[in-house]
Symmetry: C2
Subunit: 295 residues, 2 copies
């Protein structure tokens, strides 16, 4: 039985746990706030590694941002993390254990593919993490889609001509509409109020507020537009929606709408099984697969 | 030296030639008009096969429409070909030679990847065929992207909210803007004339007509929007533009615009090397690879 010390590093918090090669979380998942400097992030990780040093065979890290094809380092700066985060020498966290890094959405799809909602689905899967932003993890013929440098799966493709600014510097990207922030901005247009939050919309939907329902429907419609495109491009066995916003999707409705408007064979849109734990579990499973490759 | 009798079956014509395993066309490319019924298509192919029966080792077919993962048959009806085209029993064209079928855009990207503009580019390539419609052929880690059933690479993803109808039954798809028909429809909006053809626009551009230049620029901008999305999704080594409309692209301009607006590492957008012969050449090369797999 192999064990991983697995981290999920995001803009606001770092989660970690010991995970075995069946994907079981052996202790409770612990969480700390993400420190504000790259040095403090490194030192926090190092302290955790030292604390658990006799309890794992491999260190695995799910992280925001693009990771190289060798799974050793982060390729470029990532918006929500401190300047220089990509320069952290993760490999030096252990002198004798392997350190495997992968993008968080890629880890999520790996967890879902191996043990979750995508387990019996097939070898071609598209996963979207719907949170503050939108991430993408894609499995093609049983392997992670990484591209020439490792950054594949970025959900920045234009879906409208409304000139809504996107975090990437461009405009009208899928992320600008399908994310939690996208719902917020769509609601602000509908309410004609500039202070509405995503939380307000969700709350107002519960109160049957017509504007909130309209915003949520438009948000789901926008999500489905992107899914239609991705399904036509990848012809996947299934599409998995993960992340904090995936619970607000009407899966019956979105399955009907997408399947009625694609040109490829029918697919299935499902909610992720592991919810917010897919990152640490997926990183661990992916790391174990890398160890296996070396045996 | 292996030889293929290779066909490219489109809505208006069928091209064919004998091609060796270096991709050389050994005789002239011959062309016939595509017959109007599935029976006549089959009989035409059969006559050609009989005529050349001692001159080839394999029959290869590039075709409009989606082809299954076993490369034996067409999955569903395709708009520009006669009803029942997908029911043709291509395997019965020869009793002793293998018959390998693949989608025409997939054949094109295979030709470009093996011997054309994508030869020294890398293992991840996106190819777009810009003709009356838009086709897509994608190479991931040196293999054709086929998806669960074989239909992957369909360029039907929404890029606007203008409600322009698409051939697929949906609206605002990339094909509806980036194709030759897309240019025509964009020009009709700009000219405010419902009879303008793609040919008129190209002719008017040569005469420095401002409306035509505006339409061509908008068409190229729309093409680049889709390329930005595809590059962010696939992180490809290069993007190849093929088909009859690829000659009207300003490659310097589109390279600058795309590379300034992607979130992944820089890529290169190139014109295809084989132009309209990439289908028959790619089908042949793909077929030879299948033969090799069986040796």
């Amino acid at each position: 039985m192999k064990k991983a010390l697995s981290f999920d590093i995001g803009g606001t918090k770092i989660s970690f746990a010991i995970i075995d090669n069946k994907g079981n979380i052996l202790n409770n998942i612990e969480k700390i706030s993400t420190p504000n400097t790259k040095e403090d992030i490194y030192n926090s990780l190092k302290n955790i590694v030292n604390k658990y040093k006799n309890e794992f065979d491999i260190i695995t890290i799910a992280t925001a941002g693009a990771v190289n094809n060798e799974n050793t380092k982060i390729l470029s700066s990532t918006g929500n993390l401190p300047v220089g985060y990509n320069e952290i020498d993760f490999q030096s966290l252990s002198i004798d254990k392997k350190v495997v890094i992968e993008n968080d959405a890629n880890c999520s799809v790996w967890a879902e593919y191996q043990l979750g909602s995508g387990k019996d689905c097939g070898e071609n899967i598209v996963l979207l993490t719907l949170g503050t932003g939108v991430g993408g993890g894609i499995i093609v013929n049983g392997k992670l889609l990484k591209g020439k440098s490792g950054s594949a799966g970025e959900m920045h493709f234009v879906i409208k001509n409304k000139k809504r600014a996107c975090t990437c510097g461009f405009y009208d990207c899928y992320e600008a509409y399908a994310s939690g922030n996208g719902l917020k901005n769509t609601a602000r247009e509908i309410y004609n109020e500039s202070t509405i939050t995503t939380y307000d919309v969700i709350n107002d939907v519960k109160k049957n507020d017509e504007r909130a329902i309209l915003a949520l429907n438009e948000w789901q419609h926008d999500i489905s537009l992107g899914i239609i495109g991705l399904v036509n491009i990848f012809d996947p066995n299934c599409v998995i929606l993960s992340g904090s916003m995936a619970q607000f999707i009407d899966y019956k409705k979105i399955n009907n709408f997408v399947n009625n408007n694609i040109v490829v064979q029918k697919t299935e849109i499902k909610k992720g099984y592991f919810d917010n734990n897919s990152g640490i579990i997926g990183a661990a499973l992916f790391g174990f697969d890398k160890l296996k490759g070396e045996d």
